[in-house]
């Protein structure tokens, strides 16, 4: 009950769907929730000195200022104020499966695009640079990271223009994205991950080893999570156009077990590698996903 009450403060996805402009959607989402944020959720690489404080056991030794130690014979930790000048890459899966629209008002790609635009807006507002990459069977479109709110329009235009189609080849696409990202930055992937899980995990780990920050939004429709079908059904694959006939009622338990197993696999494997894994349920308000994203980022920053 408490959760419902809290979520009611967020924007209804139906309302968002009525907003045709992605930019307006993004502004609506972010401005409705940003008032509670005091710090940037993104930890930058170029930082300014903030203050010294005395060393306490448990602090990393690399943060000790040895020059001060030479002068004062005491251990001081040099703290920095974060600077929000980083490069963000919004990587959007635009394969056919992302076009699915279940009982909710937004399709998976619409939901993911709104989420991406919201994050772009937020980052640009904090003087960070944002780029956009779309892919399906390979790279489709790439917009290099830039700063300034004027760039938001370009990102949103591209997101609006993108149509979900083709089969997914996430592994190959991530390779290409990694090769094109010259500068370390934050890498935010929106995908339903309808590809080989092992390959996806392996490629994301490779990106992580290049010191990129990686956040993965696993975009799933409520139908995919709850599988609310009862009849004998011909299921039509939105990617490869294949079909399969089955008794959905009898299939449900086994399907749900596999979905849950898949999500747990991603969650455990990616978090071990320091990659944030977040479920983006399209039936949930966007703010809820953003809120959980920010909470997660703040937890990472605290570490």
């Amino acid at each position: 009950m408490e959760k419902t009450r809290r979520l009611s403060r967020f924007l209804d996805p139906k309302l968002l769907a009525s907003l045709s402009s992605m930019e307006i959607r993004a502004r609506t989402v972010v401005e409705g929730m940003v008032e509670g944020l005091h710090k940037s959720p993104f930890k930058g690489f170029n930082v300014e000195f903030s203050e010294y404080r005395q060393y306490v056991p448990g602090d990393p030794l690399k943060d000790i200022d040895w020059k001060v130690y030479g002068r004062t014979d005491k251990f001081y930790i040099k703290e920095h104020e974060e600077e929000t000048n980083l490069s963000g890459y919004l990587v959007m899966d635009t394969s056919g499966s992302m076009s699915y629209k279940g009982q909710g008002s937004l399709s998976k790609i619409d939901y993911a695009s709104t989420l991406a635009a919201s994050l772009a807006y937020l980052m640009l507002k904090q003087q960070d640079s944002v780029g956009l990459v779309t892919f399906a069977n390979g790279l489709r479109r790439m917009i290099r990271p830039r700063t300034g709110m004027a760039h938001l329009k370009a990102v949103c235009s591209e997101l609006e223009a993108t149509r979900a189609s083709e089969v997914t080849n996430i592994g190959a696409s991530l390779d290409l994205v990694g090769q094109s990202m010259k500068k370390r930055g934050i890498f935010i992937l929106f995908s339903d991950l309808m590809d080989n899980a092992e390959v996806i995990i392996q490629k994301l780990r490779q990106l992580r080893t290049r010191r990129h920050e990686i956040v993965l939004f696993h975009v799933l429709d409520r139908d995919e999570i709850s599988f609310p079908f009862d009849d004998t059904t011909i299921f039509h694959d939105l990617e490869d156009e294949s079909e399969i006939v089955t008794d959905a009622f009898q299939l449900r338990t086994e399907y749900l077990r596999r979905v849950k197993h898949l999500m747990n696999t991603f969650k455990s494997a990616l978090r071990k590698s320091g990659i944030d894994y977040l479920i983006a349920d399209t039936s949930m308000p966007l703010e809820a996903n953003l809120r959980s994203f920010f909470s997660r980022r703040q937890a990472v920053s605290a570490r």
Binding site: M98, T233, E239, V245
Partner: protein, 712 residues
């Protein structure tokens, strides 16, 4: 299986409903887009097989349910008999065959097996319905149908079964089962059955199933086995009794062979008691191994001439009827033989042409305790001798005989005496033919006319041998077996050519075909002519090993030929014999229980007088009396067949086609119910409804079983 209401079987078409529903719902799926079938495919592979099995199982359950509903309505009946396949209102034609062979006489738990069998037969006859036809038959040797036609009269059939006695005969399954099958075969409009109530002894059934293929019996006839008694009880029996001597002389030790059979799984001892004419004479304890037959020899001495009753008895057991065995033996006085040898010439040594005959008949020259008492006299010395005191008279190489002696010999022969004539160098054929044949008319002495001499006993250039020996004749029967010697090896250098009379028997020929030894029945006696000498002057036979047995067998056959010998027979076997018209007067048969029956003699086509009796059902000693019971003509023994003592049961599985109907009083359903079940079959309606109920519960449970639980 049969159905009371077969029209309801049309409802079986209802199984099309679940099949249609099954197929219909398979073909109407809903189309639905989905992001990716990747996970669905993996899940389908896992679930599809179980789903298919479940659906098929459900469909099968529903089909079975419909079949059960239809079957319940059609009221099915199931039975292993052909009768159960017929309509329930078809009348029955059946035959009850009751085994009353001797083996049924044993007791089981103190109750006679035969009485139990008789009770079963009455119970089966009680199941006769209005419109049914039946008859009853007996299984023994030979078996028969008591009523040769089927009848509706139930009371008569029951009465006949109640009066059936236990037979002492063996078991001949074919003699009763085959006529029963033949009787039922044409009655195709009836439900047909043959009930065989028997103790199922292997000795009776094995020969039957080996000879007849029961599998080929018409399928419409039910063969129903009603076993009585339990496992075979231990049984010991006297299965053989015989005197091991060709002829029994009074006062002589005779070996008796007693055969004991032990039909049990352990070695047993039996005390054998030998009784002669009802008087206990000998006792001996004999041990017989398990499942073995043992012969033992006991020496016995008979003192009474004429017919004697010999009985071997052991102590009683579960089967009392085979613990005693009987034998009828005729005891003779020692046989007196008179040899009339050639007169000795004055101044010459005593003629010894009789020596080889005398030596053969009394090899140890014993004065007494010899089977044959031989006297040798010249023709002149026989003037004051009564020939009737001698069983056999031998004429040896006589030249001439006095007319008075010839007359006495003729009378002796016609009154039952026996004459053996040996020829030799003194014989004048013309005198023999004239005085011993022609002048005597119907009282002639010789069985053949004598002609010329053949061969030369002086030069002995040519040795003739005896061929075509009639080993069927008692005189030569001993040589029928290999290793018993061959009279054909003896050589005859000279003999008389003879021509046998029309009624004479030719016992042997010479090697070129001329008669050698001839015999003819003369009046009540017999005359034998040997065409060569009795000593070694014309032949070397007297010094050959076959000479002695030939003479012994010849004399024994002569003295026993006139006796009415019947031997031992099985119960129920007919006894037939030829007698003289004198003996045939007022004949009687005395049965073992003392009952006397009149025997009717009949004159046959050739004037032969004979009688036949079938009153031999009892075991024991029978006497045939003449002259109103004053004179014993003969006697014989009736003994049970040895195989009836073997009570081991045959396994019912080895008998094709027979359906068992076993019953123990107080256990399971009654005979009435079992007969009814065999005839009408089992009503499966109740079972079908019960199965339907059970199936409905299973289907309901299975159809509503949560899929998740199954998948997990």
């Amino acid at each position: 299986m049969t159905f009371t209401s077969p029209l309801f079987l049309l409802g079986i078409l209802g199984i099309a409903v679940p099949i249609y529903l099954h197929l219909y719902y398979r073909k109407t799926p809903v189309r639905k887009d989905f992001p990716s079938l990747r996970l669905i495919r993996l899940s389908v592979e896992f679930v599809a097989r179980r789903k298919k099995i479940r659906n098929l199982l459900l469909m099968t359950l529903r089909i079975i349910a419909i079949i059960l509903v239809v079957m319940s309505l059609a009221k099915p009946f199931l039975g292993q008999s052909a009768s159960a396949r017929s309509s329930s209102d078809t009348p029955s034609a059946f035959i009850v065959l009751l085994d009353n062979s001797m083996s049924m006489g044993c007791t089981h738990q103190g109750i006679s097996v035969f009485n139990t069998a008789r009770a079963r037969a009455l119970e089966i006859l009680d199941q006769m319905q209005p419109g049914d036809r039946a008859t009853v038959g007996l299984i023994n040797d030979p078996g028969r149908l008591i009523f040769p036609q089927l009848t509706w009269d139930q009371e008569t059939l029951k009465k006949s079964i109640s009066n059936v006695p236990l037979s002492m005969a063996g078991t001949n399954m074919a003699s009763s089962i085959l006529p029963a099958l033949k009787l039922l075969s044409p009655l195709k409009a009836y439900r047909r059955a043959i009930y065989v109530i028997t103790d199922m002894t292997e000795s009776a059934w094995q020969p039957f199933i080996e000879k007849y293929d029961l599998a080929k019996v018409e399928q419409g006839i039910d063969l129903i086995m009603v076993p009585v008694g339990d496992t075979a009880p231990d049984n010991m029996a006297v299965t053989g009794l015989e005197a091991e001597a060709p002829v029994i002389m009074s006062g002589r030790q005779i070996p008796l062979k007693v055969t004991l059979a032990n039909h049990s799984q352990r070695s047993r001892k039996a005390r054998v008691t030998i009784s002669i004419n009802g008087e206990r004479k000998l006792e001996e304890e004999i041990e017989v191994e398990a499942n073995a037959v043992k012969d033992t020899r006991i020496m016995a001495n008979f003192t009474t001439t004429g017919m004697n009753q010999l009985t071997a008895t052991i102590q009683g057991d579960a089967m009392p009827f085979d613990d005693q065995r009987h034998l009828a033996v005729r005891v003779f006085e020692p046989c007196r033989v008179l040899l009339i040898k050639p007169d000795s010439l004055p101044g010459q040594p005593e003629n010894r042409e009789d020596i080889f005959v005398r030596f053969a008949l009394n090899p140890l020259n014993r004065g007494k305790d010899n089977n044959f008492a031989v006297e040798a006299r010249s023709a002149a010395e026989t003037r004051n001798i009564d020939l009737n005191n001698y069983a056999v008279v031998g004429l040896i190489n006589q030249r001439h005989l006095e007319p008075e002696l010839i007359k006495r010999l003729s009378e002796y022969l016609m009154n039952g005496g026996n004459l053996i004539t040996f020829l030799g160098n003194r014989v004048e054929p013309e005198w023999y033919n004239k005085n011993l044949i022609d002048d005597l008319g119907s009282g002639y002495l010789l069985p053949a006319r004598i002609y010329k001499r053949v061969g030369n006993a002086v030069s002995r250039n040519v040795g003739y041998q005896m061929t075509d020996i009639d080993v069927g004749h008692p005189a030569f029967s001993i040589f029928a077996q290999d290793g018993s010697g061959d009279p054909g090896r003896a050589q005859i250098f000279e003999f008389f050519q003879v021509r046998p009379n029309p009624t004479a028997l030719l016992l042997t020929r010479m090697s070129h075909g001329l008669p050698g030894i001839v015999e003819e029945k003369r009046g009540r006696g017999r005359s034998m002519l040997v065409t060569f000498s009795a000593d070694t002057s014309w032949t070397n036979w007297p010094v050959r090993p076959t000479w002695l047995p030939f003479l012994h067998q010849t004399l024994i056959s002569m003295i026993t030929a006139n006796e009415l010998a019947i031997g031992s027979i099985r119960p129920g076997m007919p006894v037939s014999a030829t007698v003289t018209s004198e003996d045939a007067r007022d004949m009687q048969l005395t049965q073992p229980d003392g009952n006397k029956l009149k025997l009717a003699a009949q004159t046959g086509a050739q004037g032969l007088v004979h009688f036949t009796t079938r009153d031999t059902d009892q075991t024991g000693y029978y006497k045939i009396l003449s002259d109103g019971g004053k004179r014993t003509l003969s006697a014989f023994a009736v003994n049970p067949p040895a195989e009836e003592s073997q009570l081991a049961r045959i396994n019912l599985r080895r008998i094709p086609r027979f359906i068992p109907l076993a019953h123990e009083p107080g256990r399971g359903s009654s005979v009435k119910e079992k007969v009814s079940l065999l005839r009408d079959g089992y009503d499966l309606s109740g079972a079908a409804l019960l199965a339907l109920l059970l199936l409905a519960v299973i289907e309901s449970w299975f159809a509503n079983l949560p899929t998740a639980r199954r998948v997990e």
